[in-house]
């Protein structure tokens, strides 16, 4: 397997956009391409990550659409759909092209433009990832799966609402240091939990999860350029190596999971990624996790191997996952504050980590970040892609 490097990264601001789906994708793509500064080196292929365009934007064949927008034809092009893990899956596909020797330069772009439909339609579209006969027909939505998971975890491990609030507060604060983040607003423990007004400020969404435990609905695009070793050498500059990728799946219906409090796919995928990279969780300097719901940041931090099972909320309490902590988690603001254009999220993880590893994350730079980890959580944890990136001299 040939080495793979990230040569460039770029993204649009996440939030509400007036731009079309393809304009979002193009802007992020060009940003990454310029960052890579390929010069005369051609792009062999593109991979687009997206979950809902066919339904929400009534557009399909996004690979073909973007390759035309960027005037990159006759390069190879296709789209990859893996629910909320579309981004990392598309990235995996791009890396495999490089690793196999079939390509030297691949552009990976994730994009979603969800806000063209109202919240009810948007919720229903995301709910389509649930099992049609065993879950969806009951009104199961992604927040409801997260709510049922949260109740069990809180009951079993003593996680409290205040811990969930700490995740939101931390990520909102990080978001204000990230100009690309959807939400530029800090929140306080008083405002979202302890004041009497918190009942109105922070109403229930899927109990025990409340409004500020759930990421916003966002438009946006994120893009990286992956290249072969020879291209990376030609380009010079800092080298971000794709050190390890792991993916694991689980049962479709959440009720079928062996242990419904255990994010088994996160654990298996992370183990594979770390094994390929030849490092362990304790070597990681910065992590981007998939906090579509605040409870998931805590649970993923354990399943990925950073903290023992049932102790993620304790590490959070001790401040270990803050920007100035031992293991900063979600310096970008996470999905909670950065936003979650579904197809773009997985790729946005790599954009943030690339900037961090290259020392380009102004305002929220983790000092001497050399090894980064990302977790893209598809379905409700039944399809997870974990990735380890490493800065090489």
């Amino acid at each position: 397997m040939n080495p793979v490097y990230i040569a460039g990264a770029g993204m649009t601001k996440f939030g509400r956009s007036e731009w079309s789906l393809m304009k979002l994708a193009s802007v992020a793509s060009l940003s990454a391409l310029h960052h890579a500064n390929l010069g005369e080196i051609p792009v062999d292929g593109i991979v687009v990550a997206n979950m809902g365009a066919a339904r929400v934007n009534r557009q399909t064949a996004l690979g073909s659409a973007l390759v035309d927008q960027l005037a990159l034809y006759p390069a190879t092009a296709e789209a990859v759909e893996n629910g909320p893990a579309s981004g990392a899956s598309a990235f995996k596909v791009g890396c495999q092209a490089i690793a196999s020797g079939m390509a030297d330069v691949v552009l990976v772009t994730g994009v979603e433009r969800m806000r063209v439909v109202n919240g009810l339609e948007g919720t229903d579209f995301v709910a389509s990832l649930a099992h049609p006969e065993a879950e969806y027909i009951y009104g199961v939505t992604l927040p409801s799966l997260a709510g049922m998971f949260a109740r069990l975890v809180m009951d079993r491990f003593g996680v409290e609402r205040k811990h969930l609030a700490m995740v939101a507060i931390k990520n909102h604060e990080n978001g204000t240091k990230n100009p690309y983040a959807h939400i530029q607003q800090t929140v306080t423990m008083e405002g979202i939990l302890t004041a009497p007004e918190a009942a109105v400020n922070n109403p229930p969404i899927a109990e025990p999860l409340h409004l500020f435990d759930c990421c916003p609905v966002s438009d946006g695009a994120a893009s990286v350029v992956v290249v072969s070793e020879s291209v990376a050498a030609k380009l010079g500059g800092p080298k971000v190596r794709v050190a390890g990728i792991g993916q694991a799946t689980d049962t479709h219906a959440v009720h079928d999971r062996e242990d419904p409090t255990d994010l088994k796919s996160v654990r298996l995928a992370s183990e594979k990624a770390f094994s390929m990279a030849g490092v362990g969780p304790s070597d990681v300097d910065v992590a981007e996790l998939h906090d579509a719901f605040t409870i998931l940041e805590i649970a993923e931090s354990e399943a990925a191997g950073f903290f023992p099972r049932g102790e993620g909320h304790l590490a959070l309490e001790r401040g270990e996952t803050r920007l100035d902590g031992k293991l900063p988690i979600n310096p970008s603001g996470g999905l909670k504050a950065k936003g979650h254009p579904v197809g773009a999220t997985g790729v946005a993880h790599f954009v943030e980590l690339t900037w961090q590893l290259r020392g380009e994350a102004e305002g929220r730079q983790i000092k001497d970040a050399a090894i980064g980890y990302a977790c893209n959580f598809g379905g409700f944890g039944n399809n997870v892609v974990a990735t380890v990136l490493r800065r090489e001299a």
Binding site: G119, L120, E121, T123, D124, A127, H131, E133, A134, E135, I137, Y138, G139, V140, T141, P143, S144, G147, M148, F149, A150, R151, L152, D155, P203, P204, I205, A206, E207, P208, L209, C214, H252, A253, V254, H255, D256, P260
Partner: protein, 112 residues
């Protein structure tokens, strides 16, 4: 009424898949027979969902995962007040969604 919720029982090893599958996760055989899903059980977890999808106009929906006697787990709507982890329930079939004017029946859980 008369609606049933069906699982798939492997004709080789007897393991039940609900939701149904095409291949038995236990023995990899590909032949199944219908088996009715339902009965008595306990609430494994539940939630009151306020952010509802289209088709629903109630203020919230109470969903649960229930573990039936015999070990089969199911997802459905939890009826009655005072939900609790471990609460004893039994399944019934009711209208769980109205989609495009069409009534869809599925599992509901009644306190025992």
């Amino acid at each position: 009424m008369g609606a049933k919720v069906l699982g798939a029982k492997c004709t080789s090893c007897g393991v039940v898949s609900y939701p149904v599958r095409s291949v038995c996760p236990n023995c990899r055989a590909e032949s199944f027979e219908d088996v009715e899903i339902g009965g008595k059980g306990k609430v494994l977890t539940y939630t009151d969902v306020y952010a509802l999808a289209i088709d629903y106009e109630t203020r919230y929906l109470r969903l649960a995962i229930v573990e039936l006697e015999g070990g089969q787990r199911v997802t459905g709507q939890l009826l009655g007040d005072d939900p609790k982890l471990g609460k004893a329930v039994e399944t019934t079939i009711g209208i769980v969604r109205v989609q495009g004017g069409k009534e869809i029946r599925g599992l509901q859980f009644l306190p025992v």
